[in-house]
Subunit: 192 residues, 2 copies
Amino acid sequence: MASYSIPAGYKFHPSDEDVVRFYLRPKATGQPLPYPDIVFEFDLYGEKEPSEIWDMFGGPSLDETEDLFFFTKLKPLSRSRVNRSVGIGGTWSNESSKTIFARGTRIPIAMKRNFRYENPGSPQDGAWIMREYSLPMKTQPDVGSSSSSSYVVCRLSKNDRPKPKVVGEVPLKKEEMKSLINLHKRKIDQER
Amino acid sequence: MASYSIPAGYKFHPSDEDVVRFYLRPKATGQPLPYPDIVFEFDLYGEKEPSEIWDMFGGPSLDETEDLFFFTKLKPLSRSRVNRSVGIGGTWSNESSKTIFARGTRIPIAMKRNFRYENPGSPQDGAWIMREYSLPMKTQPDVGSSSSSSYVVCRLSKNDRPKPKVVGEVPLKKEEMKSLINLHKRKIDQER
């Protein structure tokens, strides 16, 4: 391991591609990482609450523009589902996802999934953002695999703009959505 | 001088206070700087155009979030005026200024002046932003002083949002402004 001291004014502000090229890919392919303690090894899908993890790894002393980064192993429930519960009663709820391409190309190098901490009733509900970087599917872990290829990078940050709560609105279930679509189709047919 | 290698993903994104504490103040008070080539020594009020300076110091290879930083000496014209011409026919035109305070206090530690490159007729007109950090007046240079205390830090960046050009608008001269105000006053008097 190389020793290093970072000149004042430098912040760990990696681009998405930086995260994949210099941290996720080496880790997931079992290569040594030149610098320890930049991306920490810790389970973001474990028993600790985001606020505890934030405090454990020096979050409170970070510049407000800095996030915390972790190597975490995915916990597959099945071929297509992953357990993303966290702490006591909390879940990382997927808000959006995008493919990361190598700069200036259309070559996909990773997926970036954006999550929000959800724990209805907890004062921490909605207070944390987590972005998960994973390698493309072909290099994804087999179910139950414990190889290094199951690593993802998780980027933890405070949510400065929590979503306003919508009172009384309940998301539709799949069945309800289907019947709504059918209703709409029938209406269109009738209008013809 | 300490040697250093910066881990991937770190960018030079100093806060205003970082610039003052770790670069400007040591330089202006003649203290050694631990790391060379982070803030370069170069005259931002000299003969080179901003675009030339940008190219000379590796601007084109920077991440789009990064700026270039320079130690420059002010060129006082009088006790209250400073020569901020640059290149051939260009001027750093002051857009706004603010006082920088030590974090969490009302102790002023520096002035930050925001400039825009103006060179009417040049395709580069408005294409550059420069922010100048200077120590408070009591530590400012005497006229004609060449001591290290006359140093400022200049932060050069591309202007991604050039001001839209107002066609046909010419700024009012002082006399014109005065007569407009008088006209307006007379109108108000008449309406009473």
